[in-house]
């Protein structure tokens, strides 16, 4: 038994159980902090009635979800209706498997990966799993047999398809730079330093790709300003209109699980994963138990930072209109990331892919071209203003625009 627990398989199983359990709690408290941050940015107090500072609010919410009557409307496609929340929740939970949580642990002379699984295609696995979450949304919207749900599902599909392209291209930029799809191996080169002080995080090589990846993460997780799939004002609740009780709770949990997974992925790709500069415990050479825990802590803090920014953005920016959303993806992000991707390939050909001066120059050039194109094109005149005759001068005594 003891031997099994200290083998790689044992560590993987324990880690999977721990991460799954911790994640459920963290997700519940994400909802609590979402509400708190909403309140604070709006000069309010937020939930404070259940327990000290309202800390038991997620428990109360969870109990409510569990004990509520679980209504299945009569007009739905029952098997698919039941399958949808299961799919989205399952997909939200398995994305964690390939995240490298804490480097390596030297135990009884063996180096163990603090990672549930370390496949060669870790990055592809996470991408594949993350894009499967749209199936839950589509199934839910379709099975609900409700036009608003269906609209939400259709919007979600179009949005996910559009934003997966710039997201994939941003990740490809990293893959070209690092030359591997293994997440652990993407972290390792980021832990050395330029000039002995600046960590070689990819964000310092490709800041533009990082920003665009963050934007597409918001869109992939259906977060504001891209939450058109559940636009309450237009679609009641979008794809989860007909869901109640624990099934609605699973949609909710899956959204936050998705946020956590994509934050972890972005940390690994651009912010050095579990690496905190100038702390010897978070260097790859440190393999004792304390170092493992320190690395886990650092990665968790980075995830918390991402989630805070996501919530902060949610309570700042209003929702995009659907044509604006599509224009942003197809006319903005995709050309920009495509240019960046081609230039990153050129850098790879020149052997300069990890040279900060060249990489930053490439990013600056892409950004400059974007600015130039955006500034030089005048907005087309559309709609009523285009069809009307020339505006007559205001009559005497009439109100004037001035």
């Amino acid at each position: 038994m003891r031997e099994f627990l200290t083998s790689q398989l044992g560590v993987s199983i324990v880690l999977a159980l721990v991460v799954f359990g911790v994640m459920q709690g963290v997700v519940a408290y994400c909802i609590y902090f979402e509400r708190k941050i909403a309140a604070w940015t709006q000069d309010r107090i937020g939930p404070n009635r259940v327990g000290p500072w309202g800390l038991f609010q997620p428990v109360a919410d969870g109990l409510k979800f569990i004990f509520k009557e679980d209504v299945i409307p009569g007009h739905v496609d029952k098997p698919l209706f039941l399958l949808a929340p299961a799919v989205i929740f399952f997909v939200g939970c398995i994305g964690f498997a390939a995240i490298p949580w804490g480097g390596q642990w030297l135990l009884n002379g063996k180096l163990l990966d603090i990672q549930v699984a370390n496949p060669d295609i870790g990055l592809l696995y996470i991408l594949g799993v993350a894009s499967m979450s749209v199936y839950g949304v589509v199934l839910g919207g379709w099975a609900s047999n409700n036009k608003y749900s269906l609209y939400g599902a259709i919007r979600a599909t179009a949005q996910m398809l559009s934003y997966e392209i710039p997201m994939g291209l941003c990740i490809l930029v990293v893959v070209l730079t690092m030359g591997t799809l293994r997440l652990e191996e993407i972290i390792l080169p980021q832990t050395s330093y330029w000039l002995g002080v600046i960590p070689q995080w990819n964000v310092f090589l490709h800041p533009l790709a990082f920003v665009i990846l963050f934007i597409t993460m918001l869109a992939e997780a259906n977060r504001t300003p891209f939450d058109l799939a559940e636009a309450e004002q237009e679609l009641v609740g979008g794809y989860h209109t007909e869901y109640g009780a624990l099934k609605f709770g699973m949609f909710f949990l899956a959204e936050y699980a998705h946020m956590i997974t994509s934050s972890a992925l972005a940390s690994v790709l651009f912010l050095g994963g579990w690496h905190l500069p100038w702390w010897s415990w978070t260097q790859p050479e440190a393999t004792h138990l304390g170092a493992v825990l320190a690395k886990m802590l650092v990665l968790s803090l980075k995830i918390v930072g991402f989630i805070f920014v996501m919530m902060w953005i949610r309570w700042t920016i209003p929702r995009f209109r659907f044509d604006q959303l599509m224009r942003l993806a197809w006319k903005g992000l995709i050309p920009a990331t495509l240019a960046l991707f081609v230039l990153a390939a050129v850098l790879l050909y020149l052997g300069r892919q990890r040279d900060p001066a060249w990489a930053l120059a490439v990013n600056a050039a892409t950004l400059a071209v974007c600015l130039l194109l955006a500034g030089s094109r005048r907005r087309e005149v559309t709609g009523r203003a285009a069809n009307l005759p020339a505006v007559p001068a205001p009559r005497a005594g009439q109100w004037s625009a001035a």
Binding site: I37, A39, W40, T41, Q42, D43, R44, I45, V211, W312, I313, W315, T316, I317, L328, C370, L371, L372, A374, G375, R378, R379, R384, A385, L388, P389, V391, P392, P394, R395, S400, A401
Partner: protein
């Protein structure tokens, strides 16, 4: 009817290149929300934690909350049962039964004074109509009850609200229920104090 030349077409402002990138504007917005977030965390928000805390910043002189029936200096109900308030009331929520006054300075007093707080629209017309400033609206606002009957306040309850709120909202000054200035029978009883605050 709107004609075409009533309509003024205004050109939308052209966005600059930086504005079309969205990001600088979004960062500006995020700065604003962060400032609010920090300010709320550092200072106390304006929220009043209602059941534990009560609002105290109302203008007690003109806040229109629950009614009260004032007492005069001797602790008697100031109302003289003249029906002016129930006549003025647009919601017909005041029901008065008058009786012969036991005191020599007035002819009538209310045997029964019922006010239906559920029917009341808190317009303050009763307060304006009252010739002796006996009925007044108070800053007292948390009015709750378990039944409709409970929400019909009688004379004693309205007097109790006076006792509760007399320090927060003083009676008008000089108040005229002493009858010293009005030629009522009480005028013969000698001068009343001019000011009776507190």
């Amino acid at each position: 009817m709107i004609h075409n030349d009533d309509i003024l077409e205004l050109d939308e402002p052209q966005l600059s290149a930086a504005e079309r990138l969205y990001l600088p504007q979004i960062l500006g917005g995020m700065k604003t929300t962060l400032r609010h977030l920090g300010r709320t965390l550092l200072n106390r928000p304006f929220t009043v934690q209602y059941p534990e805390e009560q609002r105290t910043n109302q203008r007690a002189e003109n806040y229109r909350g629950v009614h009260r029936l004032n007492r005069d200096e001797q602790g008697r109900v100031a109302c003289v049962a003249c029906y002016m308030c129930s006549t003025a009331c647009p919601a017909h929520c005041i029901h008065i039964e008058a009786g012969e006054s036991p005191w020599p300075d007035r002819e009538k007093y209310p045997v029964k004074f019922d006010l239906d707080e559920l029917r009341c629209i808190f317009c303050g017309m009763c307060e304006e109509a009252c010739p002796v400033d006996a009925i007044e609206l108070t800053p007292h606002y948390d009015l709750v009850g378990r039944s409709r009957e409970e929400m019909i306040l009688g004379k004693e309850e309205l007097l109790a609200i006076y006792d509760e709120t007399k320090d927060r909202k003083l009676r008008k000054n000089p108040h005229i229920t002493g009858y010293s200035g009005t030629g009522g029978r009480g005028a013969a009883q000698g001068p009343q104090p001019e000011t009776a605050y507190g």
